[in-house]
């Protein structure tokens, strides 16, 4: 038998989202809900209780007309890897049940629903609000339970869930690779549902460590930034925007900090 360890290069799956291209259409959110059996309620007006693994936020520059500018920002789980990629992301470090884990091989933060007992420490720890609590058992409209994906396990009430970068697609891609006698997968074989659903191609997904993957170049753009970088969460979701106010909105700067940071960032 071959050893899995030695012939696998460490990957860091991540995203680069071009905010200049995002129109805020919400296709990614729909694709995500459908792909991952995300439960919903009849009345989704109370956003605090609704579950959105991927959520599109609407930002504005806070200026009055005619200087108002709008930017849409899709926010999946940021899959923090921490300083030096040690993998102790905010949520992983606080979970008392080992229900959330970090895989050193893929850089994906996992959530095992059957292990979770719903203490919600991880929700409190997450600076990005990517984690959601199931207040109720999912109720699917009649007949819809038949169209649920068997590749993603369905959650019950009392557990936390979040974006997995469609990890089941990685598993299926590996299945095919093994069948074809390979141990590595190509960039196009593992793509998240939101990436493929985006009509303006603003989301790019791949291995941030692999120079052959498109994200490798894209993340080095001078216009690239990450959310709350100053927390040293070392997230794997990069955003690109040509607008400075958008890049600044990625971190919680104080008013007078703005110019300083802008200078430091170049």
């Amino acid at each position: 038998m071959e050893k899995g360890h030695n012939n696998t290069t460490t990957k860091r799956y991540g995203m680069v989202i071009d905010l200049d291209k995002c129109t805020g259409c919400g296709s990614c959110m729909v694709a995500c809900m459908q792909e991952n059996n995300v439960p919903f309620k009849k009345d989704e007006t109370d956003k605090i209780k609704s579950i959105t693994w991927l959520r599109v936020y609407k930002l504005n520059n806070g200026k009055p007309y005619p200087d108002t500018e709008i930017c849409y920002l899709p926010r999946p789980c940021q899959h923090c890897s921490g300083v030096g990629d040690h993998g102790h992301s905010p949520c992983v470090s606080v979970c008392p049940a080992t229900a959330t884990d970090y895989g050193m091989d893929t850089g994906i933060v996992s959530q095992i629903y059957t292990r979770c007992f719903g203490c919600r420490y991880c929700m409190a720890a997450c600076p990005y609000h990517v984690r959601y609590f199931n207040w109720w058992d999912p109720v699917w409209p009649k007949g819809m339970e038949k169209s649920l994906s068997p590749n993603v396990s369905v959650r019950m009430r009392g557990v936390v869930e979040k974006c997995s970068f469609c990890f089941h697609r990685y598993q299926l891609a590996m299945d095919r690779a093994f069948f074809e006698g390979r141990k590595e997968i190509e960039e196009h074989e593992y793509q998240t549902a939101c990436t493929q659903a985006c009509p303006s191609k603003s989301i790019t997904f791949g291995d941030l460590n692999n120079p052959k993957h498109a994200v490798y170049e894209l993340k080095q753009s001078p216009n690239a930034f990450r959310l709350l970088e100053r927390l040293h969460t070392n997230t794997k979701v990069y955003y690109v925007s040509s607008k400075e106010w958008v890049r600044m909105a990625g971190d919680n700067y104080l008013k007078d900090e703005h110019k300083e940071m802008a200078r430091a960032k170049g």
Partner: protein
């Protein structure tokens, strides 16, 4: 009665009392011992025989199936019925499509075949096979990784079912509804063969031995997102 007489009586009564005490003690020890033995036997009986009976319930497969006789008839070995699809997923329990070439009409005289042909083939109803190896819904298992990647035999995890002449009895846990094959037939959880059990520990044990994706930050063993979905 004289005083001496009284004294003598007392003494004899005392002696008698004493004698009665010892024999009573012997009696109680005997009773305690018997109770202990009976209680132990009852507990063992309950734990080893009644408990598994209560915990596990049986279900009948729709009809019996003979692997051995079919292996003599098919051209392509196990793959005639259990094969990989082009995308690397495993077909699992066979569908009617794998049987229909031979079973459009009843061929032999067995009752099982008659049930199969009349109730399923004739109506194009897929057979609702009960899966002995079925894992809980949160588990991801890849046949390609083990059969193609690691070159393992079916028998390593399933035992000798491929050469069997009849399907085993299907048992499931009445609380979790999981197949008994996950925990194993032995109620104490002992295993002699690799296929006796297939709990998380059994997967992990082999994965640790073979250094399969031991990348978890939390446990420094197998990452949860290898076997879970």
């Amino acid at each position: 009665m004289s005083a001496s007489e009284e004294k003598a009586k007392e003494v004899s009564a005392e002696a008698a009392g004493h004698g009665a005490d010892t024999s009573k003690e012997q009696n109680t020890t005997g009773i305690v011992f018997i109770f202990f033995v009976v209680g132990l036997a009852a507990s063992l009986l309950a734990g080893w025989i009644v408990f598994p009976k209560v915990l596990y319930s049986q279900k009948q497969q729709p009809f019996d199936f003979n692997h051995q006789s079919h292996m003599e008839m098919v051209d392509n070995g196990c793959q005639s019925c259990h094969f990989f699809r082009e995308d690397g997923t495993f077909s699992g329990a066979p569908k009617l499509a794998q049987c229909i070439d031979c079973h459009e009409y009843v061929q032999g005289g067995s009752e099982d075949e008659t049930i199969f042909v009349e109730q399923y083939v004739a109506n194009y109803h897929e057979v609702p096979w009960l899966i002995y190896a079925k894992q809980p819904p949160c588990v991801f298992f890849s046949h390609a990784a083990h059969v193609n990647g690691a070159g393992m035999d079916c028998g390593t995890c399933h035992g000798d079912i491929g050469n069997s002449t009849s399907l085993p009895v299907y048992e499931y846990n009445v609380i979790t509804s999981y197949s008994r094959n996950i925990w194993g037939k032995n109620i104490a959880g002992f295993k002699k063969n690799t296929w006796d059990r297939m709990k998380m520990d059994d997967c992990s044990e082999c994965h640790q031995k073979n250094d399969v994706k031991q990348y978890s930050v939390q446990t420094e063993k197998g990452a949860c997102f290898v076997c879970h979905k």
